[in-house]
Every structure is written in C-alpha cells, then in structure tokens.
C-alpha cells in the first residue's frame, strides 16, 4: 500500500513537471511572435514608455492604416513590395513545381547510373550560400540587364527551389505503389496517361505541400533579393523590411505591422501543409 501510494505520487509529480515543461516550451516559442503582433496595435508612445507599460492601454489599427495609405504616410511602399513578392513567389513556385515533378518522378520510378551521386549533386547546388551566389549572379545579371526585374529574381528562385522540390516529390511518388500505374498501363493507358490519371492524383496533396514549401522559401528569401533588386520595380517584402532599419530612428510600430503582413500568408500556408511536409521529408528514412 505504502509503495503504491509512493508510485502514484511520483506519477502525479512527473505529469505536473511534464505539463510545466510543455507550457514553458510553448511560451518561449509563441511569445516573440505574439509580442510583435501586440506591438503593431500599440501606439509608439506606449512601446517606447519607460518604465514599460505591460498592460496595453490603447489598441488601434493606426499602423496598418498608415502603411496602406501610401508612401508619404507609412514611409515605405508596402503595396508594391507585396505585389512584387506575390508575383515572384507564385511564378517561381509554379515553374519549380513543374521541373521538380519531372525530376522527382525520374528519381522515384527509374533506375539509372550514378543515381545517388546525381541526387547529392543536385542537393549540393542548394548549399551554396545565397550571399556567395549573389556575387556572380549580380555580375551576370547586370551584364544581361535583368537586375531589378521580376524575371531575374524568378529565375534565381526557381534554381533555389528545384533541388528541395525534387527531394520532396521523389518521396511522395515513392509512397504511391508502383503496381497501380502498372495496372493502369495493362488496362490500356499510356505511361503518360497512367501518370496523370493514377499517380498524380495520389501524390497530389504531397506535391501541393512541396509547392507551398517552395512558395515560402521564395517569399522569405533575403540574401539574393537584397542584391538583385534595386527599387519598387522588384523589391520584395523582406528587403522592404530593411528599409526601416536603414533610417536612424526606427519606427518599431510600423515594422511590427509590416512583419505581421509578411507572416500571415506564411502562417496560413504552413497550417495547410504541415502534415504532408513531414511525411514527404521522412519517406524512405525507414524503408531505405
């Protein structure tokens, strides 16, 4: 009896410790983001107050209104940056997906020589640090005259996204049993038809999440964009965020509001993909 009671108390203590640990971990993860969101609603006076004001007294949407009411008011042309980001990310994602699907299918369904070396080689192109790649790209682009254009940045992002897209899509095609497509071919489909009618729909959700991942990479990229863009013609949001810090007095509230604008699309999209993303990355980890 005594031992039973001891074990039970031990168990309760452990579960309390577990809950506290979880709570602390989640707080650390969430707090910085929430703090930014909160600050974007507060007046600058309150953000700068000394001693700090912990309980928000006065929340408003002023920062957002100022940001979208044009260059003169909010300091930076957010709408243009947002448009550039959207165009560049969507286009480069679409192209990277098309290329990645072809490549991923090749890796998942065919045997060929030097397969794993080619795979590693593709991955290695991804390891080149953006800033290191930006030096020659800057030079080449300025010779070609495509600095500060959507086209230049789209090309760069396609190349950036293709290796990882191939990795993910390869994993998703491998999860689709080979027999299904073969059965379709026996029933009279061409290989092309079998792909679109059978394998593509089955791998569809996975491919979509690979697309979202590519979108997020382009949406968030900074090192290349900061050198290959010059003006509102092609500047993206991450580069725009830096516009604020260049000035001597930082408009913390405006920056926070811009940060919230940047994070919302990413937030929504990540929620949609989270399940497939993990399964795509780990496919083959166990089966080899």
């Amino acid at each position: 009896m005594n031992e039973n009671a001891k074990a039970r108390i031990n168990g309760i203590l452990l579960s309390i410790a577990h809950k506290i640990g979880l709570f602390l971990a989640m707080t650390v993860i969430c707090l910085p983001g929430l703090w930014i969101v909160l600050a974007s609603f507060r007046p600058t006076v309150e953000i700068m107050a000394k001693p700090p004001v912990w309980i928000p007294q006065d929340l408003s949407l002023d920062a957002y209104v100022a940001m979208f009411s044009g260059v003169g008011q909010g300091g930076i042309p957010v709408i243009e940056y947002f448009r550039n980001s959207l165009i560049i990310s969507v286009t480069s994602t679409a192209i990277a997906l098309a290329i990645g699907m072809a490549g991923g299918y090749a890796f998942a369904r065919f045997r060929f020589r030097a397969k794993s070396s080619i795979f590693l080689g593709l991955m290695l192109t991804r390891t080149v640090p953006g800033i290191a790649l930006s030096l020659p790209l800057f030079f080449v682009y300025s010779k070609l005259g495509i600095i500060d254009t959507h086209f230049g940045l789209i090309m760069a992002y396609v190349a950036l996204n293709v290796p990882f897209t191939i990795w993910l899509i390869d994993g998703f095609f491998r999860q689709v049993p080979k027999d299904l497509a073969e059965a379709a071919q026996i029933d009279g489909c061409t290989r092309w038809q079998a792909f679109w009618q059978v394998e593509f729909p089955l791998a569809g959700p996975g491919i979509a999440s690979a697309g979202i991942f590519a979108f997020l990479t382009s949406w968030n990229e900074f090192a290349l964009a900061s050198q290959l863009t010059r003006s509102v013609n092609s500047k993206t949001l991450p580069v725009g965020l830096l516009d604020y810090t260049a000035e001597f007095t930082i408009d913390w509230r405006g920056m926070c509001a811009l940060a919230v604008i940047m994070i919302i699309p990413a937030l929504v999209l990540t929620f949609i993909v989270q399940k497939h993303l993990v399964s795509g990355l780990t496919s083959g980890a166990v089966k080899g």
């Binding site: 979880l22 989640m26 993860i29 707090l31 910085p32 983001g33 703090w35 600050a39 000394k50 001693p51 700090p52 912990w54 098309a98 290329i99 990645g100 072809a102 490549g103 299918y105 065919f110 060929f112 590693l120 991955m123 192109t125 390891t127 080149v128 640090p129 953006g130 800033i131 290191a132 930006s134 030096l135 020659p136 790209l137 030079f139 080449v140 090309m155 760069a156 396609v158 190349a159 968030n220 990229e221 900074f222 090192a223 991450p238 965020l241 810090t245 913390w252 920056m255 940060a259 994070i263 990413a266 937030l267 990540t270 989270q274 399964s279 990355l281 780990t282 980890a285 166990v286 080899g288």
Partner: protein
C-alpha cells in the same frame, strides 16, 4: 519519332539540370575565375588581369577573415548541437502529451513560418537595450537596474544571435524527431522494459538508434540552409559593433558590395561554399549510413 531516343530519366531531369546550370553552376564558374583576378566592380578591365592565388594568399594571412571564419564555425557548431538537444527534448515532451497533441504540433511549427529576416527583426526588437522585452522584463522583475547592452557588447550580441538562430531552427529538429518517435514500433520498447532496462537504457539503446535517421534528415535539411544565419545577423547587428559579430557571410557581402572588391570577395565566398558543402556531405553520409543500419536491424 525514329532513331535514337534519349533515356527517359535523362529527359525528365534535363530541365532541372539546365536551370541549375544556368543560374548556379555557370555563375559559380565565373566567380571561381574572378577569384583569381583583382576584379573591382568600378574597374571592369580588372576582370581580365590574372593574379593567380594572390587573393587566396591574402585571405590566408588575413586575421579579420579567420576571426569571422572561426566565429561562423563556432556559431554553427553550438547552434546545431543546441538545436538538436532542444528539438529532441521538445519532441519527447510533445510525444508524451495525451491531449491536444495536434495543437501542440501546430504551435511547434510556428517558428518555421518566420523568414530569417523576420526572426532577426523580432529579436532585434526584443533585445533592444532601451525598449526591448528582455530588458524591460529583467528590470521590472528587479533582477537588474541597468539596461543590458544586448546588441552592443560583442559577446552578448553573439549570444543574442545564437538565441535567435536556435529559436528559429529548433522546430525543424523537433518536428522530424517527433515524426520518428510516432513512426516507431512500440514492441521493442515494451520488450526492453520487460527485460528490465532502466528508462535511460531504453532511450539510449532502443529509441535513439531508431530516431537517429530522422535527426540526420533534420541535420541535412538544416545544413542545406546554414547560410540563413546571414539574414539574421544582417538585420540584428550587421556584423557590428566594430565587426565583433562579423560572420563569413556578412564579411563576404561587405567586401563585395561596400568595398566593391569582387575578386577578393569571391575568394572568400568559395571558402564559405566549401564550408557549406562540407557540412552537407558529412550529414548526408551519416544519413545514408543510418538508413542502411536501420534497414538491416528492423
């Protein structure tokens, strides 16, 4: 459609190879060439002057470069290890949770959505010596009555950058290790317990070998992207104050764009590229080895 047809996988991989050749390989060859010239953006003619290994020799004796190099390696080593440990802990905490696991997993992914530049800004805001959350909290709690110069003192700034880096990437490890924990069969753990293993032994000899490939996947993914730290440092301190948080990548960008010494910067960039490749190949090898080991044992 007569005559020789190229093999299908070659055709399928062709677009990928073409794009990568055009945007990555060819520019890199160009930059390799220009790393042997004293190329300056302001003097285009200097591109055709060949100086051999002078840039590299210059780097080898450059104290500033080696400081930045050492700091980069230190940052990566500490960050990757801490991320790995915290990610493992976080994954095990979440796996133990009986209720609300879906919600917990979603929250866990939160930092992954932040672009590195945002992470940098966010921590710049929090570590601001005057109005930042960290100092405000410390002062309100009465732990200190002075403003701690987080981003101004060299060591503290390095710590702040490290914290930002760890915050943003721990979730990659946590998510993948959690996937490993969830995919793991339960019988071996039960068998180990029946055989009288302590919890530590069960973890060390049963759980750990199984989730190791997942940890290596996370490592490989992370090492594909280690240079993301550039974005964080760029916005938090921009290598300052007085170059005390200068990393390899910020040094490259400063040499290339502020000093316009492209040739020298390209030579430095090649060292940075080799460093990245080294990290990736190392973890990729580990991943492949762990995979075959698992396949043999399970």
């Amino acid at each position: 459609m007569k005559g020789w047809r190229p093999p299908a996988p070659f055709l399928l991989l062709l677009p990928a190879i073409l794009v990568l050749a055009a945007v990555v390989i060819v520019p890199l060859i160009l930059s390799l060439y220009s790393s042997f010239t004293p190329f300056r953006l302001t003097q285009p003619a200097s591109l055709y002057m060949f100086v051999g290994f002078r840039n590299y020799a210059r780097i080898l004796t450059d104290l500033e470069f080696w400081t930045a190099f050492g700091r980069t390696v230190l940052l990566l080593t500490v960050a990757l290890n801490v991320e790995m440990l915290l990610g493992l802990g976080l994954a095990m905490l979440v796996e133990k949770a009986t209720r609300g696991q879906r919600l917990l997993r979603t929250i866990m992914m939160f930092p992954m959505m932040f672009s590195p530049i945002l992470v940098g800004f966010q921590f710049k805001f929090m570590f601001n010596d005057n109005i930042g959350l960290v100092n405000n909290a410390l002062q309100s709690l009465g732990l200190t009555d002075q403003a701690i110069p987080w981003l101004i003192d060299g060591t503290l700034a390095f710590t702040a950058i490290l914290i930002a880096e760890v915050w943003s990437s721990t979730s990659v490890f946590a998510i993948l290790i959690l996937a490993g924990l969830l995919a793991m069969p339960k019988e071996p753990i039960e068998a180990a317990r029946v055989d009288g293993c302590t919890p530590w032994q069960t973890f060390r000899y049963v759980t750990w070998p199984f989730i190791m490939p997942f940890a290596y996947i996370a490592m490989t993914i992370r090492s594909l992207d280690v240079a993301r730290a550039y974005d964080i440092v760029k916005i938090m301190t921009d290598g300052g104050p007085a170059k005390r948080t200068e990393l390899l990548w910020t040094l490259v960008s400063r040499t290339a764009y502020a000093d316009a010494r492209m040739g020298l910067a390209n030579a430095m960039a090649y060292v940075a590229i080799l460093l990245s490749i080294l990290f990736t190949v190392y973890f990729y090898r580990k991943l492949a080895a762990a995979r075959t080991q698992i396949a043999a044992e399970w």
